[in-house]
Subunit: 216 residues, 2 copies
DNA sequence: TAGATTGTTAATCGATTAACAATC
DNA sequence: TAGATTGTTAATCGATTAACAATC
């Protein structure tokens, strides 16, 4: 495998392959072909093969890829093997739901603590600490945290982002439905529910309209 | 405005413009130029103008677009003006967080009720009903629900999706980290946190590596 | 009128797909 | 060997960007 720069489109498909591979039953054969994966996921087989070529050191003709090593290769490429510590700002319902989600461990994500302007309690149901926002800076510095998760209301998102950046954070996972202005070296990943809803809404509108016309 | 088919890329940018426009202060002038929006959102101005041309009946040279009507045009295009009723499957933490989120009203989304194999309570904090899953079919039929939101564990996502489709649902917003197999006319919109995490993780890996090299 | 801004047509860029050669 | 599958090179497609004409 050569170290090539990877495009965002490829990058976003890798976790799809990963979950598919990990969900295969124990009883499945140790090898899997790009063809089989493509069929199962409803994708083009050349695309799958090309994507895998970016992270794997190759499959064997006629046999395919060794499932276990493919999983390892993708996980390693995505950096899921070394855990990333993160802090969460905004311990509302969504924030607490994310804090309690056990599945993040599979992605190497570890939410250390949450911070809130006005914490309702000092720990989540799972026992993770919830601190007043004033403690954020010291905490981030001492734990060398590089990632922040924003689950605050839209109107406080920008100031929370500014605060995180001042604490030395390099990447922000933003659940607030708003655009954030940040310096170029900071990565913002918007978990854009509005985007998803737009796609769903327009699809349904079209569907409804179609049905009406058919009913004529 | 002519009815053109819109690409998914444009479609996904529309809600970004919309939130930006809605968040402008009351005191802002009634007109806004594509140039100004592009600068504020860090996008290309031609792209903004082209996107707006898809939904608006045009801005005025030298002046720009009338902010209010632009908002209306986008909302209408996205179908946010007529509400979409939805049911939610899986009343866990994430499910309840979504049920309680007031902001969905802005997107024309109305979560009528949640369903769960084993409801802990019969209503959410906001008073929305939570029913046992057995009641789903009758409910969807009588309320003519077209959209389902999946917040169940990955291992139950496929069966939940099948159930929704059997109930006549046309679009599924899937929060479960798994690939769903559905008939072609059903739209699946994956709220893919794994995708976002992949982007964040790879960015941080690169950042860490870079720092190490600089430290040499 | 001059200049800012719009909308459109053409050029570029990147990503996907198709064709094919290599290999076990 | 034959055939399934891999990996790569070339062709296509779509989306973004650049150039420019139109307009208030």
């Amino acid at each position: 495998m050569e170290k090539k720069t990877i495009s965002k489109s490829v990058l976003k498909r890798l976790p799809v392959y990963l979950t598919y591979l990990k969900n295969l039953p124990e009883s499945a054969p140790p090898n899997i072909s790009a063809t089989a994966m493509a069929t199962a996921l409803g994708m083009g087989e050349v695309q799958v093969r090309k994507d895998l070529a970016m992270v794997s050191d190759g499959g064997r003709p006629k046999i395919g890829y060794l499932r276990e090593s493919l999983i390892d290769d993708i996980e390693q490429f995505l950096g899921y093997d070394n855990t990333t510590d993160a802090v969460l700002i905004g311990a509302g319902k969504l924030g607490q739901a994310l804090m309690g989600y056990q599945g993040f461990a599979d992605y190497g994500l570890n939410i250390l603590a949450a911070f809130d302007i006005n914490p309702k309690t000092d720990h989540s149901d799972e026992g993770k600490p919830i601190y007043p926002i004033e403690k954020l800076t010291a905490f981030c510095r001492s734990h060398k945290v590089l990632m922040g998760i924003l689950t605050v209301p839209a109107e406080h998102a920008q100031e929370a982002a500014d605060l995180l950046i001042a604490c030395g954070i390099k990447a922000i996972w933003n659940f607030a439905p708003t655009h954030l202005d940040v310096p170029p070296h900071i990565l913002i990943q918007n978990e854009n529910m509005a985007m998803s809803l737009a796609v769903l809404s327009v699809h349904l509108q079209a569907q409804i309209k179609e049905e009406k016309e058919n009913a004529k």
